[in-house]
Amino acid sequence: MAVGGARRLPAWADYGLLPLLNLVVAFLIAGLVVLALGENPLEASGYLVRGAFGSPEVLSWTLFYATNFVFTGLAVAIAFRAGLFNIGAEGQAYIGGLGLTLVCLYLGDLPFFVILPLATVAAVAFGAVWGFIPGWLQAKRGSHIVITTIMFNFIAASIMTYLLVYVLIRPGSSSPETATFAENAWMPQLWQLGAALGLDLPRAPLNLSFFWALICTLLFWLFLSRTRAGFELRVVGRNDQAAVYAGISPARWQMIAMALSGALASFIALNEVMGSHHRLLLNFTGGYGFVGIAVALMGRNHPVGILLAALLFGALYQGGSELAFDMPAITKDMVVVVQGLVILFAGALEHFFRPSLEALFRRRRALPA
């Protein structure tokens, strides 16, 4: 975006057309990969779309996955808005899951409405600390946030493996996972709530966290565009020297943004651990933190964009597993390929189409109306 000059692209092209173009190219290349596997890309897309949206059941699964991606997308985006690239959402979510698990395991006798806030606070505290430390190291010690968060992902993985193998493991179990939580500590799934209201919803792990994700998106928008604090955070991200002149401390907002980022990432644990598995599993984060990067970039760090991008990736995850079932030549890893391509085209190559698009709009404007 041209700062201090005329906007060279209309907003709808900047926020709609450009990301769409990048997405189309990413999917075209993914289609070429499918061709190389000896399958028909159109047929594969058909399976994918039907696998993601074709029935109430698969749609529930799509929304379940999308919930994770809303959380990590918002997490990566709030750091981006403060000018920081947080690669550590994966580790922050993992450590957040530890906080949540401690509450659910050891306070499982309490009623659900007491456990839920306690578990959420614990997840937030753990995840926020895991995000805050790299933020503090960046702001106060100048360590590069990218490298630090990569290292923190590995450190988190080591800590969690240790705890799951030696400390939290279910007694007598050979696989590294905790005991199943008491049912008081299970997040109600939507079909259970539906049954209470007399509705017949498909049995999928989609749970209350989904609504929490929507609320978080709203809060994200309110915070960034309607509060003074959010404004200060954005100023720091845009131009930290201007921030200093305006009396805003970049260091302070970098640390806060990273803590918020870690807190948002930790909500994955609500959806996955409390809402679906009901116990802590090794690697329960399953790379969702990295998907958040693609979601934030594709959604241009805007709450509406993030919702749409999260839905897209939720559909890719759910539709991808159905596709792998229908076309055994295409494994679930194809989703990871698409994810990489989206980050490449919507992120690294975001300037790829911009010059030609701008030239196109200039020419249109030059023509007499």
Partner: protein
Amino acid sequence: MSDLWLPTLLLLDSTIRLAAPLILAALAGLFCERAGIVNIALEGKLLGGAFAAAAAAQLTGSAWIGLLAAMAFGWGLAMVHGFATITHRGDQVVSGMALNILVAGLGPVLANAWFQQAGRIPVTAEDARFPSLTLPFAEAARSVPIIGQIYAELLSGHNLLVYLAFLAVPLTFWVIWKTRFGLRLRAVGENPAAVDTAGISVPWMRYRALMVSGALCGIGGAYLSIAQNAGYLRDMSAGKGYLALAALIFGKWRPVPTLLACLLFAFTDALQIRLQGLPVAGIGEIPTQFVQAIPYVVTVILLAGFVGRAVAPKAIGVPYMKDR
């Protein structure tokens, strides 16, 4: 003494084996970061190299063709990185992350379709893998205490690519510090505008740095799949590319300190493997996860400036624009 001597020797021996891919990837990182390009794609290039080497070696039965394929694939990934970050001035970290994720997905997808082994590529033929080399007189030297044993156990018997990795260190030192290419490369990373003023193309210098880096990473990947192991497995680079990046920072972007950092990280890895399930006198069983985490913790502490200071090339991560 003697019952400690041999295990120590074996520990150091496996340190050398584990250090080889780290060294190759770290030197690859050195070339492009010295030229001002952040390369967190080392991980993806290693993994891509491992995939390409295994696929080509298994199909042709030749380890050398496997190595060439790995270098070509690493080179190709580096060119994509260059196209996004040099030509189109995209974010270098985002581009690197995109490549890492892309390769992590592409490898298993293609391997599954081409070899039908659930995303693995086994390399079966003898000639499709690089053999270990026995240095001359190694067997005869074994009977000589200490020096002979060091020669026979520690220095001899490694894979060809291990020797190549260690040779690459003095070679890199020479190229970076003693040649005109190296001088220009460093200048591009510190002050690209000055290089531009001297009539040297900044993008072309950076592209060339990436080419070297991609090929070196490819060799590291080939080592993983057709020298150290017999085939490609998903995510087999297992963070080695990131570890190499950490070693590069730890080594302050200099070849010899970087080598030492790689050896240190490889040693903690070797120690961790050795300690698995082994009670240590007085302490009991040490959880290997803690030993495993040492390189990462060390890097964080170093980056925070608590122990020495790691100063990166000045222009690192900044796309060069002529008209600024």
